[in-house]
Symmetry: C2
Subunit: 357 residues, 2 copies
């Protein structure tokens, strides 16, 4: 089943990828987590100016290396709009930072959209894609599962309305499991949410997902990235988990860095890229050590221009085997990519934004 | 008076320009004129497939050299959407090809918009700017003048609504004057329309205008680009006409090629760029000789890859003195460019597309 794609989505996807169709994207849309990181190093209250100022520096120095950069509309975009290279793709987030605790034991997570913002504003403001982060456990209580699926579906429908690519980020979380027990079920959690959200009804164009199995519990990596854990898998099993994701995902998928260090993420990117991923959307792993230098702008810049730039170069190498987005099941090959409603009347048949409120 | 600029317009302008803020744009949105050119070389009826096929080749081969490419939504965009380099800006036209004859002597020209298409679709389809071509004589009959100004204003308001840059192209035409008499009044016609349409009420972001004085009637160029004409001006006067345009234009302006040959256009670009223009949006001068080879695709490609590419390189050199868009009166300097509604509440204050029909 080959997919026909609308003009805005096709142009947007191309804007997010490198010339070779691989995604080498940077995320600097953190709000709560960046505030907490700054709170640990500053001996005063963290202000919006700290967040905006640091984001502006990171965007200015690292965004030029990315095929596209994701930021938030609260601190990042307004502060750094003049620092984005115009040739680099732009993604803007629509979810409120953090989550609401929910479910019978208040361990489950409900996401919310940023009030007063939304898909229409993302498109209007000149971005190439919408990004929604959802915390997700398919085995959470039905009310929470429905709530999360409902948001995903609603944003998807709005992305169709505004004809803009939809990047859905999924993050699982423990429901009482300890670290090891959670690591053990992670591959299943990831495969399951990919299976769910690649369905046509969500209109997702790129899935941003977790690396499906922690390398901390993988033979050969014991102790490399943190405390030694008795291995749960060997490398070929981990590769198998990635191939399973690639098998169930109709659309391209990229991996997120979830706060791990750069060495661990490089391994994850390499393994995922060699087993069906279309690249990465990397946040903290790329730039987190520069946070310690804030508010010394020169020191932050110096770190970004040296270590930050090197991190990015290494990520390019690690993702060299990534699958071009147009070679995923959704398309097959670039030659097979077909414009929706192509024909002599395209300009007339092509939909306007649905103006019914 | 420095202008604050909205996010979509700012990002769009940056997408149209080179990294240095200069516009090196290509136009391949011709419909009627391209059909006529093909009609002269083909010994059969010109079909939509001819137009789409030729446009696709030109876009594929030359668009990568441009800072942005303008095409039409009828033949060009749907046929060539996969051939546009994602890093190159994209402009789409909204006017119907040609014009309606009007006025007391049926010598005046009324423009119309493409039915079933419009600013909202341009934005939705992933373009970075809207382009409207208006035939214009400020001294036409009031009804025609009002009609043309009305279209310009309406498209301007819609570009504000969708937050997308607005490129207004103005072309004067003779009202009974012979070639020489028309050449004599051209500088005044151009200055006058620039004066009119740079007004805030039209919300124009870039004016695409004619070179204000024909070099065929300029001392030192006699016979160089066509039949000898007794000179009307010397070069310093022609430079003065360009400086007058730069003086009255609040916004950046670029020059159009209006079917002249590449040698003549190179001189025009050089003179305009040295006297206040921000670059060019060049159509037929760049590629017109390849039309003769159609439908021999290999020959067309061969011409574009050699002569076409050389034309573009020479245009870059000729426009080296062009004024960056952010150094026009609308902005002053890049440091002075300010985001509209900048502040902690930007994402909330930033308008959504007006959904009232």
């Amino acid at each position: 089943m080959k997919k026909e794609i609308s003009a805005g989505k096709l142009r947007g996807l191309a804007r997010l990828a490198d010339a070779d169709g691989k995604f080498r994207m940077m995320a600097i849309d953190q709000r709560g987590s960046l505030r907490r990181m700054l709170g640990r190093t500053l001996d005063r209250e963290v202000t919006p100016k700290d967040l905006a100022g640091l984001k502006k520096l990171i965007i200015k120095e690292l965004s030029p290396y990315s095929s596209a950069t994701l930021t938030d509309p609260v601190y990042g975009y307004p502060a750094a709009i003049k620092d984005f290279p115009p040739e680099v793709g732009l993604l803007l987030a629509v979810e409120e930072t953090g989550y609401e605790l929910a479910g019978p034991k208040a361990l489950e997570r409900k996401s919310h959209l940023i009030e007063g913002w939304g898909v229409g504003k993302v498109k209007r403001a000149g971005a190439d894609a919408v990004k929604l982060l959802l915390y997700y456990r398919g085995d959470a209580s039905p009310e929470v599962v429905e709530h999360q699926q409902g948001i995903a579906r609603r944003v998807g429908e709005e992305c169709v309305d505004y004809d803009i690519p939809y990047v859905l980020e999924l993050v699982s979380y423990p429901l009482g499991e300890d670290e090891r027990a959670f690591a053990e079920i992670k591959p299943k959690l990831v495969t399951n949410y990919v299976q769910e959200f690649q369905k046509e009804e969500y209109h997702v164009d790129i899935l941003k997902v977790e690396f499906p199995a922690s390398l901390r519990f993988t033979e050969g990596y014991e102790g490399a990235f943190g405390p030694v854990g008795e291995p749960l898998w060997d490398l070929s099993q981990v590769e198998g988990f990635c191939r399973e994701v690639a098998e169930v995902a109709r659309v391209p998928w990229v991996i997120l860095s979830a706060g791990v260090g750069i060495e661990e993420f490089l391994e994850e990117v390499r393994i995922a890229s060699e087993n069906g991923a279309s690249g990465f959307l990397c946040g903290r792993a790329l730039w987190k050590y520069c946070v310690d230098y804030w508010p010394d702008r020169d020191a932050v810049e110096q770190w970004l221009r040296t270590s930050g730039a090197v991190n990015f170069q290494r990520l390019y190498q690690a993702s060299s085997a990534a699958r071009p987005y147009f070679e995923t099941k959704a398309f097959g090959s670039y030659a097979e990519v077909r414009l929706l409603d192509f024909g002599e009347d395209w300009y007339r048949v092509y939909k306007a934004v649905n103006r019914e409120p």
